[in-house]
Amino acid sequence: MRTPTWLALSALAILASTVPACRRGTDAAAKPTVALVVKTLNNQFFIDMEAGAKAAADSLGLELIVQAPEREIDVERQMQIVENLIQRQVKVLMLVPNGSKEIVPAVVKANAAKIPVVTVDTRVDAATLAAAGATVATFIGSDNEDGGHMAGLFLVERTGGMAKVAVLEGVPGHETADARLRGFRKAMAAAPGMQVVASQPANMERDQAFNVTQNILQAHPDITALFACNDVMALGALEAIAAAGKGAAVSIIGFDAQDDARKAITEKRMAGTIAQNPREMGRLAVITAHRLLKGETVAAEQPVAISLVK
């Protein structure tokens, strides 16, 4: 036959290369499999989370699968991944949802399959969960609102209470970003000298942040401070500000404490960032999964401490 031979061969070749990886999983029947689904693997934050989770999984004797869609905004793809993992009969599902409300149907399916769900870093919307009659076992994460507030207070201190501030929001509807914004805005509201002149979303992406910041600078060339809901965006903004020659004038605060951001802070190009400790989140998530497998009950909330890095 004509078309199929090559197509089939190439597809099989791809699969064959992955067979060794999967064989390990099914042969070692002793190791239970758990899954971690993050927002995207294009973000250092989640790569760190994966590392922490892997270390814990290895030491506890668990098989860990980590999957993610390409972009943080892709809820549908994340749903599909969760559905497929449910078919895979993973024992515990650890999830960082791309859509706090949208992912609920997937949680419902997990509940039906008797797979406990652990949410990490970003909560699933409580009201939607309740309406659907679904439950999650626990939430592991930082208080993002607190973190935003901390960032705001730092900015006030740094600028002496007088500044024109630009804000880079995250993905609209993402509970994490929304919480950080809430905290930050509370701090701004409490300090009368702080003026928020611009607030725009950049979807947690670096190049979008670059463009949005450039545009903000056009409209408000005299800003003296910038808060970004995550470091990825802060770094993009940093480059736009440097390109405009305003590096010295603007204090930039990010969130997540990625390596690149830490470097920028030591080089005095960025003012500060809020460290969440994704590695610890990953570790805790796997430990919790292990405890759930053993039949223990866990607390509904497991906060992970945040700190300011400056």
């Binding site: 036959m1 004509r2 078309t3 199929p4 090559w6 197509l7 089939a8 190439s10 597809a11 099989l12 791809i14 699969l15 064959a16 992955t18 067979v19 990886a21 999967c22 999983g25 099914t26 693997l41 699968i65 999957q67 993610a68 869609p69 390409e70 972009r71 905004i73 892709d74 809820v75 549908e76 749903m79 599909q80 991944i81 559905e83 497929n84 993992l85 078919q87 895979r88 009969q89 859509g99 409300k101 949208e102 609920v104 149907p105 939607t128 993905v171 609209p172 509807g173 979303p201 979807n203």
Partner: protein, 320 residues
């Protein structure tokens, strides 16, 4: 609507090759993991192919006439937001749905007009619409997703017809209609003729402009239907929904054997192409393959499909 002639057509035609590719893929996965060939997983796979599948119908028609539609992803976002906004303003479900579908049809027709009367190349026209529609969606929704849709609408995702998930039933019905239209009606014949040689078809007295506008409107309609399905599934209309869907749809059409030059191809091939893509993704998820490698895999399949298609064409040409 599966008659004996239908099967003979499929078996003898180019779709046979793609079908065999799908079968080989499924066979490979069946061997590689025990989780693939379960009823529940296969139902999932079918459901997961609906989004790309439905858009693929409109995209197949557009590619058949030698055009392309890059705006479908944005139209998915726009139509969903239109439905959501309409419901927020208190309109009844039926009206909201109609408005969403109308948004897709109108945008698609606009594409068609830009291409015929405006003489813009389809690539450029639909690229422009891609931005405009996305912007309109963001404007209309103020950038925030709209959630909380009535149960009647959600049935589109959660309902079952004789045990088969409603979206799958919808997709298969749409494909059956499309197949029928493309092979048996005057409209369908005109599509193939225009794709094969536009000048000769115009000379034969066919109103090529009208055909083109209708075809692009159809593409917009299929994007709008997809939006409804997505909204029902996620219970949320995101203005950023659908980003990248146009490329997936084109991939499905190409894998399915339809030529990007127009004039030859079949909508059944697109269905198989969409299935191949979801089976591949599903399999790679089940095997725990790195997400990065999944992107590579899809790309390899697309390239392989086009290479094979080109090689086949050359062989056909040389022997005649």
């Amino acid at each position: 609507m599966v008659t004996r002639t239908h099967w003979r057509h499929v078996v003898a035609g180019r779709e046979a090759g793609t079908l065999l590719g799908l079968a080989a893929l499924c066979l490979g996965l069946w061997i590689a993991t025990p989780f693939f060939a379960t009823a529940a997983n296969l139902a999932n796979v079918a459901e997961q192919s609906v989004i790309v599948g439905v858009i693929g119908i409109g995209m197949t028609c557009v590619i058949l006439i030698g055009g392309i539609d890059l705006s479908v992803g944005s139209l998915v976002g726009l139509a969903g937001v239109v439905v959501g906004t309409a419901l927020q303003r208190g309109m009844p479900v039926a009206i909201a749905v109609l408005l969403g579908l109308a948004a897709g049809v109108v945008a698609g027709a606009l594409n068609g007009v830009m291409i015929t009367a405006g003489r813009l190349p389809p690539f450029i026209a639909t690229l422009g619409m891609m931005s405009v529609a996305r912007g309109a969606a963001l404007l209309l929704s103020d950038g925030r997703p709209i959630s909380g849709f009535p149960d009647s609408l959600r049935l589109l995702a959660t309902g079952r017809v004789f045990g088969i998930p409603a979206p799958v039933v919808l997709m298969l019905s749409l494909y059956a209609i499309a197949y029928f239209v493309l092979t048996r009606t005057v409209f369908g014949r005109y599509l193939y003729a225009i794709g094969g040689n536009e000048e000769a078809t115009a000379l034969a007295g066919v109103n090529v402009r009208q055909q083109k506008v209708v075809t692009y409107a159809l593409s917009g309609l299929s994007a709008a239907i997809c939006a409804l399905l997505l909204v029902a599934r996620l219970n949320s209309a995101q203005p950023v929904a659908g980003i990248g869907y146009e490329l997936d749809a084109i991939a499905a059409v190409v894998i399915g054997g339809t030529s990007l030059l127009g004039g030859s191809g079949s909508v059944i091939g697109t269905l198989i192409g969409a299935l191949i893509m979801s089976v591949l993704r599903n399999g790679l998820n089940l095997l725990g393959v790195s997400s990065y490698l999944q992107q590579v895999a899809i790309g390899v399949v697309i390239i392989a499909a086009v290479l094979i298609d080109m090689a086949l064409r050359r062989r056909v040409h040389r022997s005649t």
